[in-house]
């Protein structure tokens, strides 16, 4: 019997799938504080013409705008793909408590791959990190998206 996915990862995966249908690389992110979902956002790089508009950056900005707290202490970030260096840095700047991610990103990931940002001695804030949640579904969305575009 498969474990049911935690609700915020379900929301992030659904946001990723909708983004993929709109031609965006299908990655979704959710910010939650306590039990409350404060942002559900997907990749908006294509929509905004901005290669920095990753799901995590957009989710962090949306949560900051919604909460008005200037930081995201007490918040969790759920994202369907391992964050890159830019997003890992943003997670540290925003002081997010816990990071939950889905698929590993061997090429661009910066949490378990490449610069392993949170393990750097100079990293000023380290969230708790949990990877592989909803991994198969998250990776499948990406695989199908790129297969279609290469066809």
């Amino acid at each position: 019997m498969a474990f049911p996915l935690p609700e915020p990862m379900r929301l992030a995966l659904d946001a990723a799938a909708r983004a993929g249908e709109a031609g965006e690389v299908p990655v979704g992110a959710v910010v939650r504080r306590g039990g409350e979902v404060v942002a559900v956002v997907a990749n908006r790089m294509r929509e905004l013409g901005d290669p920095t508009a990753h799901a995590e950056m957009e989710a962090i900005r949306a949560a900051l705008a919604r909460l008005g707290t200037g930081r995201l202490d007490g918040c969790d970030l759920w994202v369907t793909l391992e964050p890159c260096a830019m997003c890992a840095g943003a997670i540290a700047h925003a002081r997010i408590d816990r990071l939950y991610y889905g698929a590993a990103d061997e090429k661009g990931g910066a949490v378990a791959h490449g610069p392993r940002f949170f393990a750097q001695p100079t990293c000023h804030h380290r969230p708790e990190v949990y990877g592989g949640i909803g991994e198969a579904e998250a990776a499948g969305l990406l695989r199908r998206f790129f297969a279609t575009r290469r066809a």
Copy 2:
């Protein structure tokens, strides 16, 4: 005789100084394409209540909005402080050609310190990098800013 500062670094330092007077950590950034300055921006973390609103992120977004090109190929970024991991990642995503920075950042820098992002095998785009331009003035702005706030 001191070398005159290149014009874009002069603009970035002036933007940093103005930001410092407004209570922002004094860091400024300029995006230039060919000989044309397309964005002059400083740190807006305090103004926007957003710890990801570093000068480089804001300058990249402003340049993308102005140029409408979706990427910043052919552009240089001039910034008064060594970029952090978030900003280094954004520079790579935006495909900036050349990075010129002023003061070193031993604590938060990710170019010559910490994760040394552009030297990572997984880094997908490496700009040419030139550090130490206007270093003394850039570092002085930051030192005086923090000295005042600690007093």
